[in-house]
């Protein structure tokens, strides 16, 4: 397994676990109601989201250092990394479509969407984007 492939796999697994923990915490803390009224839980959850994104960014970044005399990342790895945004774009579009259709249909009669939802849309899209990058890298290795 190539070093970048290994990191992408670790980033994807950790990202999925972290996301699952965040979703469980979010629901257990009180869901959207608590998130919109309690500033402390909002800040804590926001910090958790940001920490996850930063951790994932470091894991997914191409590592150009050379360990000993072995090359860590070469042109094939970089090509795979360059193609990964195709998966990211698709994942982002699907996420946004799911959010918009879901929220619009749910709040159709009300005529407006509660203010906190766009906030969660942003975080979930960022998470999906980072996870999709790792997924894109793994798909790239499967194909080449």
């Amino acid at each position: 397994m190539a070093p970048l492939q290994k990191r992408a796999l670790i980033a994807l697994v950790l990202g999925l676990v972290w996301t699952a923990i965040l979703v469980i915490l979010f629901v257990r803390v009180g869901g959207i109601e608590k998130f919109s009224t309690d500033a402390t839980s909002r800040i804590l959850l926001t910090l958790s989201f940001v920490a996850m994104l930063i951790a994932n960014m470091f894991l997914g970044a191409p590592w150009k250092a050379r360990y000993g005399r072995a090359v860590e990342v070469d042109e094939r790895d970089m090509e795979i990394l360059k193609r990964a945004p195709q998966v990211q774009l698709l994942a982002i579009m699907l996420t946004l479509a799911a959010w918009v259709i879901g929220l619009t249909e749910y709040y159709w009669d009300q005529g407006s969407i509660p203010i906190m939802w766009p906030y969660l849309m942003m975080f979930s899209t960022l998470i999906v984007s980072t996870l999709a990058q790792s997924l894109g890298v793994l798909i790239g290795y499967r194909r080449s």
Partner: protein
Amino acid sequence: MGDAVIRNSIRRLRFDHDEMTQEELGRLAGCTRQTIISLEQGKYVPSLELAFRIARAFDTTIEDVFEFDG
């Protein structure tokens, strides 16, 4: 365009060079062992630069390593 295949003799050349390992070739050519594996399996077509570096690692010309079949 698109149906052309670039074949290579990396595997044979490695064995001709005292059974050079993929790791060693990767080190000499400046790429990972996984890229050498991918090249030998015909899954990856290298850049011109890497192709030259592989040829140089075998102390031969690029035509001896790669063959354009199109």
